[in-house]
Amino acid sequence: MTFTIDYLALAPELVIVGTLLVVFTLDMVLTRPKKFWIATAAVAGTALAAIPLVILGVQGETRSMFDGSYVVDEFALVLKGLFIVAAYLVLLMSHHYIESERYYQGEYYFLLLASVLGSLVMASSRDLIILFIGLELTTAPLFLLTGWRKGDAKSNEASLKYFILGVLSTAILLYGMSFLYGLTGEITFSGLAEATAGRGDEPAMVMAILFVIVGFGFKIAAVPFHFWAPDTYEGAPTPITAYLSVNSKIAGFVALLLMLYIALPGVSEVWAPALWILAALSMTVGNLSALRQTNIVRLLAYSSVAQAGFMLVPFAAAAVVGADLEEAFAATVVYLAIYAVMNLGAFAVVIAGARKTRSGELSAWAGLAQVDSRLGVLVAVFFFSLAGIPPLAGWFAKFAMFRSVMIAGGTTTVVLAVIAAVNAVIALYYYAKVVKTVWVDDPTGEFVEDVEAAPAVSLRLALWVSLALTVAIGFFPALVTFVGDASRVIAVGG
């Protein structure tokens, strides 16, 4: 049997492949003063990959390859767009950070682009093998990148913890997937959906699904599988932390939701309660731990654990009461898109601020707005947006979440909604505390005030892009509702 390859559908991936090979070749021929060309090539290539995405989006037809296991539909395109925009912002944040601290540059961009390639492949996957390998390519380079600050013991610890737990979670996930294959003989999602329907009472099926959820639980850092996250986030280079908390987390989420929504809707009675517990625990434990943090990166780490809980809410709520999952799926994807923009903004501001404070400790950030009010405004915008305060983008994410929960209805759903609401208030406290520290408190030490401490052009661009998106989405939520609409028409393929 022969298969044809649709090169236009694969064009975004191929552009990224080309870029990472160019980056790698450039690294071998350029001397240190000219290394900035590597970063330029990486940024340009990532931007270039958006062009075929737009062409495919304008054509608007669903392209399916290899028996429907690789599908490029509107949902895949929207996610690929999200991954590319987020990767673009991370590359902009990385440039000056990597150059000034004398890290290996060519290999850094190579690994980062390899990870982006993995997430693009994953967004199109409609079978277990491509999904798994795409997810592995997304996370495997990050094991190495978290340890990029070689001289720093914290970075080494971060890398090792992430690696060991990442490998463990991969093994568990793979066990679950092979059990699913063994029980059904199917690897495509459409085949699995048919073969698993109504078999939720078989112990082996329950075990397979729970293994899959535990495996993904580690990837998205949901409580109780989150304990690697704070140490890894703190030790990794900050742009990589941003990437971990956005791209790799979203990739894990998308993989999990794709499997549950398309491959396993017939056994929702098995995974819905597990998801419900994960959501409630992640929100509560994440937020309560964030309250006690004194380091801004650790605070963002726990905040992203809590945000993962919020993202799980619509799906868990709808599935527990057996409501239509379409609305929940759309709400989650909208939440993911908004979270990506504002969280990247928050990390960009942390990188910019850390150049002046020379520390991630919150106490060193006190009174930063007195010396740099623009940076102070940015801190306020991104942290209030994460808290969900209108008119910044975060409110619409929370709104979409609660709306889908209310559409689902039912007692267990309302309980989860109440937990989410209480947690939204707790979260406001520690996000506002950061803003208060920056604006109201008196400085405890000296800030670095030289040319070196000013944000580089690339970092400024990253800040402007995420600021513009955060504010624009807040005022015109219609800008992202198309993301949700695109995910409603998800094609199963096959």
Partner: protein, 183 residues
């Protein structure tokens, strides 16, 4: 099927023998006090697993296990032990105080998975459908139906290779760099 009927078939003697070898060597891998012994016992465990795959007519997987794991990974283990100057004799440090909980956990997971599998398949014979999958067929499908994961895996390997070289290499000092050596 009763046990006496099962054991009367010669193929099952081999299965029993290989299974016991895998089990015993696997157990000794974790209890051995000498890292070199543990690595060599792992060879026995993997060879036994390859044997089980051969009995299932999965020759490709069996030979991959032999070539990649026994031929490359274990050799790397031994090199790693030699190069890092880890103690190669008896090493009491290999014994962990906290071995009870992980041991119970492993047994628990085993019981869970064994029970799940037995419950799902019981004594039903899962017969082979059609001819055994030959290496040729696997090669064809890797470059046909599964070409995307096949190509993507090569990037996983490339990334792992480049990243680990970068992390493991000795950094140049600024003076060495001045002398024109590239980083």
């Amino acid at each position: 099927m009763t046990f006496s009927a099962w054991i009367s078939e010669p193929i099952n003697w081999i299965f029993l023998l290989v299974g016991l070898v895998v089990l015993a060597s696997g157990f000794r891998v974790v209890t051995a006090k000498n890292v070199v012994h543990a690595a060599l016992l792992l060879v026995a465990a993997l060879a036994g697993t390859a044997g089980l795959f051969l009995m299932l007519a999965a020759e490709f997987v069996a030979w991959v296990l032999v070539l990649v794991y026994i031929g490359a990974v274990i050799v790397l283990f031994l090199f790693g032990i030699m190069i890092t100057r880890a103690p190669t004799g008896q090493d009491e440090g290999l014994d962990s105080e906290k071995k009870v909980v992980p041991a119970l956990l492993s047994v628990g997971v085993f019981v869970l998975m064994a029970w799940g599998s037995i419950d799902a398949f019981g004594t039903t014979l899962v017969g082979a459908t059609g001819d055994p999958i030959s290496t040729e067929l696997i090669g064809e499908s890797l470059l046909g139906r599964f070409v995307i994961p096949f190509e993507v895996v090569s990037f996983v390997l490339l990334a792992a290779l480049i990243g680990s070289i970068t992390l493991a290499r000795k950094d140049l000092t600024p003076i060495e760099e001045e002398e024109g050596r590239r980083v």
